[in-house]
Symmetry: C2
Subunit: 762 residues, 2 copies
């Protein structure tokens, strides 16, 4: 590690104090005089025509200030791409999932709004629904959109090399069906906003992890220029993709109510609304076929993915792309075919979530590789090392890996006492021990075409303190702290000298959003450029004073000096004052934006870099399985994560822990129980996320590489472990039980049934 002052240090969160004291204001905390509450009326049917809406009873309720139905939005629709604009703020003619918004009310308080929403009478004509994507693809299934034959919402295909030849060259070919579950992000802060519409345009304090999405949606919906839409970001209580990366009925209705009434309008979704109606991770069926030589070399892979897209397309095209384009990592693969189908059903909408797209196909491929290795008698470590890529590497679909700690990560797992000792662990009573591993990769600094750069403004105050403006959002992941570290390091300042501002789309530069592990990598690049721009402007004044070259001026530990002449030095704040007080006063505003200079990036064909860099996670998980009841527990995890250079190791550790626990929840506990499109367990009591008591011992080992495209060599740290955890749990349970499970979540029922069957069969 180089000689940094704040980079690479275990620096506590800069927002820690304000959050733990309860001072931090979230969207739901905003109060204003005259504030109205907005509530949404939702469809009780999964698929129905709307014949009539009678709002008269709601309108008559004292305290009600307005009622909206779909017609009020005049047919406006939004979607992730121009060709997938199909979602209406309120469904006007037809509902396609249970809980879809059909009307909204604004009233003087929350209770009145809730009561009024219940007084809205909608006459429906129920339509036959379809809830299983494989059923939905069949001829004769109810068609959810006229344009979508076989209910295909989006399909994505890759074909590289010659898979048939690859399979022919294999000694073993396996074909298996895997399933990933119906899960959701589980943030503690529900969607909420306070909206104001006046002659200055729209101002909205909204709980969004990517405020520039709703910014565009509101401008389009209300026919305003972007300069008239102001999204001011409160503190955000978790994002993880999905809902908080998109817009909601509540957003559009609150703004329209404010336009109608001239009052600020607030909505806060209930947790039941979140769990019943908000965007979820797509549940997927992955048919995976792999060819392997006796020595473990993978010769080909073919995958067919069927994703339950629910009622609308949303960000699904990106999900489908990610299922395939990241399948060529982390193992060498010269022949690969991929066919992904996103299928409309009358379920809630499938969308992005941490580990987006990759969790599904990597789970399948990783597990299948282990199954085949076992069949061929190859050690799980050896099969991985045999196929593992090393940097530099270019995949068949032109993903270029410039740094890779995969082999070192696998070796870290292999060298751990837990792995070495795994064969010696004895079963104790009904409790069987199991140890499993996995090795996966995830992208950092997600790349797309379009207005996708991150930008930064670094502003020098005359006292030497620094304002830092970015459009990138800290939605709980700690990115503000890391970004401030970068600006501080670059300027040779301390953490307290740099003040990062909350995102405000009127003031902070445009940013693509907090998704795809972009912030550290791309907002970081922008921050570095802007800070260097400040340094360059300041260096001129120092250089003049000391008759030195500007490029020889050093900034370190709040001191400015001349390279090689340490006696020529002054405090940073003194130089700031010299600059700001020279002549009429220099106004030093640094600017910068990430520019990843896309050369090859074909979203349709899955060619090119979907990320700026790639993390590699090697993981070990130990489980204790009760063979009588099927209950099991993860006892220990070892995560060897290559995030390049860890800029803030305590945060890297926390992100790995968090991602691992979210992955564990999804592998073991979490699952929406559905009945004809109705979510039967829409409470956090019944939708079982891991409790503190479920958390295993987690050791995070940083595998340090230095990525040439990351700021200070950094890559991503927040998503890798959610990909690596499920396969490592499944291999651990296999180690304990001898059974290969292929469906998430891996519940005690499934284990106990399988053990019973195994006993019966053998």
């Amino acid at each position: 590690m180089e000689d940094y002052s704040v980079i690479g240090k275990r620096i506590p969160r800069i927002d820690g104090l304000t959050k733990v004291t309860g001072e931090a204001k979230y969207a739901a905390d905003y109060e204003m005089p005259g504030l109205l509450w907005c509530k949404i009326a939702r469809s009780p049917h999964a698929h129905a025509k709307i014949l009539n809406i009678d709002t008269s009873r709601a309108e008559k309720l004292p305290g009600v200030k307005g009622v909206l139905t779909g017609k009020d939005f005049k047919g406006w629709k939004w979607g992730w791409m121009p060709k997938t604009r199909e979602e209406e703020p309120l469904a006007a003619e037809r509902v396609r999932y249970l809980g879809e918004a059909v009307a909204a009310v604004a009233a003087i308080d929350e209770d009145t709004a809730e009561e009024a929403a219940q007084l809205i009478e909608v006459e429906y004509e129920e339509l036959p629904g379809v809830f299983d994507p494989e059923e939905a693809m069949k001829e004769g299934a109810p068609q959810i959109y006229e344009h979508a034959e076989n209910n295909i919402s989006w399909d994505f295909h890759m074909d590289f090399g010659d898979v048939e030849k690859g399979f022919r060259n294999a000694d073993l070919v396996h074909e298996d069906r895997f399933e990933t579950g119906r899960v959701i992000t589980g943030y503690l802060e529900p969607p909420a906003a306070v909206a104001m519409y006046d002659s200055s345009g729209i101002t909205i304090w909204a709980a969004k992890q990517s405020p520039y999405f709703v910014y565009r949606h509101l401008a389009a919906c209300f026919g305003l220029p972007l300069s008239k839409v102001r999204v001011i970001q409160p503190f955000i209580g978790g994002g993880f993709g999905g809902t908080k990366n998109d817009s909601l009925a509540g957003d559009f209705c609150s703004v329209l109510f404010s336009k109608m009434t001239g009052k600020p309008v607030k909505f806060v979704y209930t947790m039941e609304e979140v769990l019943m109606t908000c965007r979820r991770r797509h549940n997927m069926i992955v048919f995976n076929k792999m060819g392997m030589k006796k020595d473990g070399t993978i010769t080909a892979m073919e995958s067919r993915v069927i994703a339950d897209g629910g009622a609308h397309t949303a960000i699904g095209p990106l999900t489908m792309y990610l299922t395939g384009c990241m399948s060529t990592l982390p193992y060498k693969l010269r022949n690969f075919k991929h066919d992904a189908y996103r299928i409309y059903t009358n379920n809630p909408i499938g969308a992005a979530m941490r580990g987006h797209g990759v969790t599904h196909t990597r789970f399948a491929a990783e597990l299948q590789m282990e199954m085949m290795a076992e069949e061929l008698g190859i050690d799980p470590v050896d099969v991985r090392l045999k196929n593992a890529i090393t940097a530099p590497h270019e995949t068949i679909n032109k993903v270029t890996v410039k740094s890779c700690g995969l082999v070192e990560g696998i070796e870290t797992i292999a060298d751990s006492p837990a792995w070495k000792d795994r064969k010696n662990k004895k079963q104790e009573g009904p409790i069987a021990h199991g140890v499993g591993m996995s090795a996966t990769s995830y992208l950092g600094g997600a790349r797309q075409r379009g207005h996708q750069s991150c930008a930064a403004i670094v502003r020098l105050c005359e006292d030497g303190s620094v304002d830092y403006l970015t459009g990138a959002s800290d939605c709980g992941q700690g990115s503000d702290t890391v970004l401030v570290q970068m600006v501080a390091e670059e300027l040779g300042l301390g953490m307290a000298d740099v003040d990062i501002k909350r995102v405000d789309t009127a003031m902070t530069p445009c940013d693509a959003g907090s998704y795809g592990s972009r912030v550290t990598v791309l907002a970081g690049e922008a921050a570095l450029k802007a800070a260097r721009d400040v340094k360059q402007q300041l260096a001129v004044f120092a250089a003049e004073k000391w008759e030195a070259a500007p490029e020889d001026i050093l900034f370190k530990d709040r001191l400015v000096s001349v390279k090689g002449q340490p006696e020529k030095n002054m405090p940073f704040d003194q130089l700031a004052k010299i600059a700001c007080y020279s002549g009429s006063g220099a106004v030093i505003l640094g600017r910068g934006y990430s520019d990843y200079g896309i050369d090859v990036l074909d979203f349709e064909k899955g060619i090119g870099n979907c990320g700026t860099s790639y993390s590699f996670t090697s993981q070990l998980t130990e489980v204790d399985v009760d063979l009588e009841t099927g209950f099991f527990k993860c006892t220990d995890m070892l995560i060897a994560h290559d995030c390049g250079v860890p800029l803030n190791p305590i945060n890297v550790e926390a992100q790995n822990q968090g991602a691992a626990m979210q992955g564990m929840g999804q592998a073991m506990y979490e699952e929406f129980k559905m009945d004809h499109g109705k979510t039967l367990n829409p409470t956090l009591l019944d939708y079982k996320m891991p409790l503190a008591s479920d958390i295993p011992n987690i050791e995070v080992v940083d595998i340090i590489t230095k990525d040439p495209d990351g700021p200070y060599g950094a890559k991503e740290a927040s998503e890798g472990a959610i990909v690596s955890v499920p396969p490592s749990i499944f291999t651990a349970v296999h180690d304990a039980t001898g059974i290969w499970f292929k469906d998430q979540p891996l519940t005690p029922e499934k284990i106990v049934m399988a053990l019973k069957e195994k006993k019966q069969n053998g």
Copy 2:
């Protein structure tokens, strides 16, 4: 006039709608949950020692959340210059004017706070006071500050050429004593703010015309870096210098109360507090001595100014500087001596006001010139033309005038029917007609050393709309409209395409403030630079597409084209999209700051340019004087104003009208009646500002020059007419009565007494 699309057009105020509908929020309109009210307890004595403050009764009042006295600020003081830091948020040991703040309370509502403030018991030891600056200068007068002998708060001296020789060369030398009155700005919005102190630092929504002043004061008072002080600017209901350009007890106390309680804290001064205790224009005595040849040539001028500074220095040094450095305009003057004394008294504080400093000395010199011309039998027009400067011109104190419409202005007055016809106007009954004129100059784009530049950020949105960030404030003068015109013109856009943001010191770049007619000239320069920066960045994309040189890309009427090849064109928003969607998306942030490259500027000696450019106002005023009662009325005004190129003629007209009426109020009506430091008329009923029915017909003629240092050739338009009005009224009354009055305000009492005396004497 060049072919502009929005520059030079009579464009309505962009804030007009929000203001006339009442939507615009001023500081007093801000409400927040848990808000406390702050009230100030004030001294009933003009000069006293504070022996003891008993806050116990106030503290016990239910609803009171905190009480502050001077000690709570631990001796911190502020002032305009480091060496004049003498004012305390709350006086700790001694009060020096009646109404000085001594304690403050915070309570749950305004009434409780008011009641508690009255329950604070202060034990004083009264000290002898002094209320007249000439008395205060005498030996043995009560000394208000230990350091200030003869109560001199600040003195300023200029001596150029050889005045004695000048007077020897004159045919006539006059020496007169003039007086200007005790007046105040008279804004309708009193000082107010809502302050919040939390872990992010200070946030204050404050009624300030120059938010970066209070920004610095709060950082210093509370020991915070500037990056932790956020002044967010509400709409401002008038500034005019003085109070809203400085900080107040209310500002500091609200912030400290918020720090103590964790709640937002609000204060709104009453109009009585404003009129009793807030900063006023200095009243001054000007002893003026002028030498003139028979042909009207001015040979020398010597002035001695005694200003009533009140209890603290505040911005007084700048006032004193301006009384002198601007005296060398608008007439040629090679010998000039100036001695200005700002004197402490136990009156409220004298500070800046529209026409800052210049109104006093220009009134004296202008009137005296007329008096001498009359004595020498020279026509008022001729004496002016004889001495008038023409551009280019450098004064003896190195003020450089690059554009000057003075001669044309004087000729416009001289050619007007009212002037030509003036000798033919007959007295009707007791009503005598009078016509007077004046010619004056004022600075625009006030210059000082230090961190004084204006800056701008112009941000392109991907839909082609534009965000414009400036630290410059529209406090009612319409500058936002003019600045947006400039950005729009430069980018070839319409007014609606550019959105200017309210100042927010966390986000908008630092700005010196809205004073000294800086905004159009200097914030305008910054706006132009930032807009050109955007254009330059955009032009690259157009040039690439059309294989042209970037400098040949034209931006006009929302169209971008190639110079000389009009067929190569596309809409501006299309080019914006191309840029923002090229590669990873360019983030186009233009920046710029005014840089007036000070070469000579000696504040101590009055040498160099105090402005970037200089306006010239020639004025005619007609009065009807009732010779029986002394009552008189201005019936008509003709203002020939050289503001360079009028960027928005409707706004130039409105500014001239407003300044003229403020000048008329001060010349005729307004005056604080004082008794031993106590203001006897602290209501708008008794402090008589002009009513709508007092307003004469005002014709404003734009004398168009093109200043090379102003944006599009513009200079100032908001202060010139306040300087030209009083002497033109006084000469008009002289024309009607034959009497030279030398003291403001010119009341009916003074006229009737003088007429009586004249009758008795002659």
